[in-house]
C-alpha cells in the first residue's frame, strides 16, 4: 500500500501548484510553461523524470512535447503511435489517471520501448483536457526504481492537469490569433492595388496601410489624424458626400464608395470600393474600414472603348451607305447600319432574325448570286473585293444595283475573324452614267451634223452673189438656236423664245411694227434647227423687201395648236406682212425661199404655204408635234 503523504508533503505540493499558476500567468511561451510543469511535477513527486505527451496527427500519435530527466534525443523528437494497448492511450480514452507500479510485471498494458530502455520501472499519468473536454495529451511521471505511486499521487497529477488544460488552451488560441493576424497583415500590406485604411468614429484616419499609401500618395505619418474627407474631390466635398457616406455606413453597416478621389499631388484616381462601419463587441461604433481598388486605368480603358464604340456607331448610323460586318465562320451579319433598310427594303430585325448567308443571298438577283457568294468567300480567304450586283428589293421586287467594297478584318494572329464592307445603292448613278453616255453621243452627233449644215449652207450661200453677209447672218441664226437649246437645259426650246430672239431688233420699234402672239409650245432640238433657219429666211426677206423695211409695214406672227389631217397635234404658225408697198420681183431669193418651203417639210413632215401677192407676204407653217 502507498504510504500516506505527510502534512509537509501536502503543503509542498500546494505551494508548487501555486508557483506554477503564478508562472503560467506571466508566460506566453507554451514550451516554457510545459517544461516548467514537468520540472515542478518531478519535484513534487520526488522523481527524476516527468514528460508531457501531445496528441498529434488527429489522434494517430503522441509527440514527447516536453520533459525533464530525459535524453535530448527524446524531448521534442520522439513520436509514439497511439496503440490500443498502451497505458497512455487508455488514460486518454478513459479520461483518468493510470498507475503502473512495476513495468517488469505489467500485464495490462504494453510499455513503449524507449521507456524500458531508459530503465523506467514505475509510472503514473493523467490526461490533459482542454476546456470543452478535448484531450491535449497527458502528463506522466516515471521512476527507475520500483515505486508505489499512490492514489494521492494520481490525484495530485489530476489536479495539476486540470490547471494545465486552460493554460495550454489560452496559449494555443493566442498562437492561432497571432498567426491569423500575421497572415492578415501580410495580406493587406502586400495588396498595393487596394487602398485600405481605418478611421475612428469621427472619421479621422488611424490606420493607413501600404496599399493606401501607394494609391493615394500620402504616407501614414502625413495622413494620420486627417479626416477621411481629405481624399474626396472638392466637388464631392461641396456636395457633402463624405458625410453622406459615413451616415449610410452607420445606418446600413456599409456604404458603396465608387467615385473619383484626390491624390496627395492633386491628380485624381477612380476608386471602386466600400466603407464599412466597425463595431466593438458591445455594438458600439468604433470607426470605419475603407477598402477600395484603383480602377482608374480600367475605367479609362472602358471609357475609351465606349467612346470608340460610340464613334463607330454614330458613323454607321449617320452613313447613307450601308456599313456591315459578318462573322467569318458563319457569314451571318454581326452589324448592319440603318442604311440597310432603305437599300435592301427589309428591316434589320427581319434580316437578323434569319441571319444566314442564304437569307441574304435570296435577295440577290439569281444571275449574280454565285458571283457574289464567290466574292465573299474570297474575302474570307483574305482578299479585298470591289464588285457590283443586282438585288430584287422587297416588297415589290424592284431591281436595284449595289456596289460593295469588301475587306477582311483579321485578328492579332492574322486569321480572318470578320468580313466588313460598305454597300451603296448605285442604281441612280448607273442610270445617270448611261444617260450621260447617251447625251455625249447625242451632242457629238449634233455638233458634227451642225458642222455639216454650216458647211452646206456656206456652199450654197457663197455660190451666190454678194454672199458673205448672208452667210454670216444664217450662221448667226443657227448659233442663236443652239444657244437657246443649251440654255433651256431640257433639250427643248419654246416657240415664243425662238421668235423673240429672231425678231428682237424689231419688236421694240415705236410705233409698234411687230405683234407676236401664241401659247407656250416646246420644240425638240431636231425641230428647232430647221425652224430657226426658216424663221431667219422669213425675217431676212421682210427686212430686205417687206414689212420691216420701211416705216409703214406691219408684221404679225401668231401661232396656235392645231391638228393635222392624220389627227396629230401640230403647231400652226402664221406669218403675215401687211401695210407696205410690195416691190416687184420681191422674195425671189432662191435658197432662202427653198429653206422656208423645203427644209421643214423634208424631215419634220411640216407643210409650208408661202404666198406673195399685192397685199404682202403670208406664210403658214404647220409642224406635227410629238
Amino acid at each position: 500500500m502507498a504510504p500516506m503523504a505527510d502534512d509537509n508533503a501536502m503543503v509542498r505540493r500546494q505551494r508548487l501548484l501555486a508557483d506554477f499558476g503564478e508562472f503560467a500567468l506571466r508566460s506566453e511561451n507554451l514550451d516554457e510553461i510545459l517544461h516548467e510543469a514537468c520540472r515542478l511535477v518531478a519535484e513534487a513527486l520526488g522523481t527524476a523524470r516527468a514528460k508531457i505527451l501531445e496528441i498529434q496527427e488527429g489522434g494517430q500519435s503522441f509527440l514527447v512535447r516536453a520533459g525533464i530527466g530525459w535524453d535530448p534525443g527524446i524531448v521534442g523528437e520522439l513520436r509514439l503511435p497511439m496503440g490500443e494497448q498502451s497505458s497512455e492511450s487508455y488514460s486518454i480514452t478513459a479520461g483518468r489517471p493510470v498507475i503502473m507500479r512495476d513495468i517488469r510485471a505489467e500485464d495490462r498494458f504494453s510499455v513503449p520501448e524507449f521507456m524500458r530502455a531508459a530503465g523506467v520501472v514505475a509510472s503514473v499519468n493523467a490526461p490533459i483536457l482542454l476546456p470543452g473536454g478535448k484531450a491535449f495529451g497527458l502528463l506522466q511521471a516515471d521512476d527507475t526504481r520500483p515505486r508505489e505511486f499512490g492514489q494521492e499521487d494520481a490525484e495530485f497529477l489530476r489536479t495539476y492537469t486540470i490547471i494545465l488544460g486552460p493554460v495550454i488552451d489560452r496559449l494555443l488560441k493566442l498562437g492561432q490569433l497571432r498567426l491569423a493576424e500575421e497572415r492578415f497583415r501580410l495580406t493587406v500590406e502586400t495588396a498595393l492595388d487596394y487602398a485600405i485604411f481605418v478611421t475612428d468614429r469621427d472619421d479621422q484616419i488611424t490606420d493607413w496601410l501600404p496599399g493606401a499609401a501607394a494609391v493615394f500618395g500620402w504616407t501614414a505619418e502625413e495622413v494620420a489624424g486627417r479626416p477621411g474627407a481629405v481624399l474626396f474631390t472638392p466637388e464631392d466635398r461641396a456636395k457633402g458626400e463624405p458625410r453622406k457616406e459615413v451616415l449610410t455606413a452607420m445606418e446600413h453597416g456599409w456604404a458603396p464608395n465608387i467615385r473619383w478621389h484626390l491624390r496627395k499631388d492633386g491628380s485624381r484616381v477612380f476608386i471602386e470600393g466600400s466603407l464599412r462601419a466597425l463595431h466593438d463587441e458591445a455594438g458600439e461604433l468604433r470607426g470605419f474600414l475603407k477598402i477600395g481598388r484603383d480602377a482608374t486605368d480600367r475605367r479609362a480603358a472602358e471609357e475609351r472603348l465606349r467612346e470608340s464604340e460610340e464613334r463607330f456607331r454614330q458613323f454607321g448610323e449617320a452613313s447613307s451607305d450601308l456599313i456591315w460586318m459578318r462573322d467569318a465562320a458563319t457569314l451571318g451579319f454581326e452589324y448592319l447600319s440603318p442604311a440597310f433598310e432603305p437599300i435592301y427594303g427589309r428591316s434589320r430585325e427581319e434580316q437578323l432574325a434569319d441571319n444566314t448567308l442564304e437569307s441574304w443571298a435570296a435577295l440577290v438577283h439569281a444571275d449574280d448570286r454565285e458571283m457574289v457568294v464567290q466574292r465573299l468567300l474570297s474575302v474570307r480567304d483574305g482578299a479585298r473585293a470591289n464588285f457590283e450586283f443586282r438585288i430584287l428589293r422587297p416588297p415589290d421586287g424592284e431591281l436595284r444595283w449595289i456596289r460593295n467594297t469588301d475587306f477582311p478584318l483579321p485578328d492579332q494572329s492574322g486569321r480572318v475573324r470578320r468580313l466588313a464592307g460598305i454597300a451603296k445603292d448605285v442604281t441612280e448613278e448607273k442610270a445617270s452614267a448611261a444617260r450621260l453616255e447617251v447625251l455625249v453621243a447625242e451632242l457629238q452627233h449634233r455638233g458634227r451634223n451642225l458642222l455639216g449644215v454650216v458647211s452646206a449652207v456656206a456652199g450654197r450661200t457663197l455660190g451666190q452673189v454678194g454672199p458673205v453677209e448672208h452667210f454670216r447672218s444664217r450662221l448667226q441664226a443657227l448659233s442663236r438656236a443652239q444657244g437657246l437649246l443649251s440654255q433651256s437645259g431640257s433639250d427643248t426650246v419654246e416657240v415664243g423664245a425662238l421668235i423673240g430672239a429672231e425678231l428682237e431688233a424689231y419688236a421694240q420699234a415705236e410705233p409698234p411694227k411687230v405683234t407676236i402672239n401664241g401659247p407656250k409650245v416646246r420644240l425638240t432640238s431636231r425641230q428647232v434647227q430647221n425652224f430657226a433657219l426658216a424663221l431667219h429666211e422669213l425675217t431676212t426677206n421682210a427686212v430686205k423687201y417687206g414689212a420691216l423695211k420701211g416705216e409703214e409695214g406691219q408684221l404679225s406672227v401668231r401661232w396656235f395648236i392645231g391638228q393635222t389631217g392624220r389627227g396629230r397635234r401640230s403647231l400652226v404658225l402664221e406669218w403675215e406682212e401687211t401695210g407696205y408697198e410690195v416691190p416687184p420681183e420681191a422674195g425671189r431669193r432662191g435658197y432662202g425661199r427653198e429653206l422656208i418651203e423645203k427644209a421643214l417639210s423634208y424631215a419634220l413632215r411640216a407643210t409650208t404655204d408661202y404666198r406673195l401677192d399685192a397685199k404682202g407676204v403670208r406664210c403658214r407653217i404647220e409642224l406635227p408635234l410629238a
Binding site: 455639216g452 449644215v453 450654197r460 431636231r526
Partner: protein, 130 residues
C-alpha cells in the same frame, strides 16, 4: 444633161439623210459626179419604200446612221445587206457604228466632203464596163 460622164456616171445611189441642208448638198455632189440619186429620204420608212420600188436597180447607198429622235438607219442597212447592195455610213455619232455587226462597214465622219464621199462610193461600186 451632164457634160461628161462623172466618176459615178450612171450609178444609182440611195441617199438617206434626215437633215435637209446636208441631204440637199450631198444630192448636188452626187449629181455632179454623174450619179442618179434615189431620194434623198429622211427616214427608215421612206428608205425601205424606195428600196422596194427600185429593187434590182440599186448600186450603192449612203446612210446617215442617226436619223433623229432615236431612229437609226440599221433596218435599212440590214435590208441592203440581204439584197447584196453595198453601202456606207455618213455619221457624226461614233458610237452608233461601233455596233459589232457594222464595224467592218465604210464610215465617213461628218462633216463629209465632196471628194471623200465620191471616192468612198467609187471604191464600193465595181467599175463598169464600157
Amino acid at each position: 444633161m451632164p457634160d461628161a460622164p462623172g466618176p459615178l456616171a450612171g450609178c444609182r445611189v440611195l441617199l438617206v439623210e434626215d437633215e435637209y441642208v446636208i441631204a440637199d448638198e450631198m444630192d448636188g455632189w452626187l449629181r455632179q459626179a454623174g450619179a442618179v440619186v434615189l431620194g434623198p429620204v429622211p427616214d427608215v420608212d421612206g428608205a425601205l419604200d424606195l428600196i422596194e420600188r427600185e429593187a434590182g436597180a440599186l448600186d450603192v447607198a449612203v446612210l446617215d446612221a442617226n436619223l433623229g429622235d432615236g431612229e437609226t438607219a440599221y433596218p435599212v442597212a440590214d435590208r441592203l445587206e440581204e439584197l447584196g447592195v453595198p453601202f456606207l455610213f455618213a455619221t457624226g455619232d461614233v458610237r452608233l457604228v461601233d455596233e459589232p455587226s457594222y464595224q467592218s462597214r465604210t464610215r465617213l465622219e461628218k462633216p463629209v466632203t465632196q471628194r471623200g464621199l465620191v471616192r468612198a462610193l467609187q471604191s464600193l461600186v465595181p467599175p463598169r464596163g464600157g
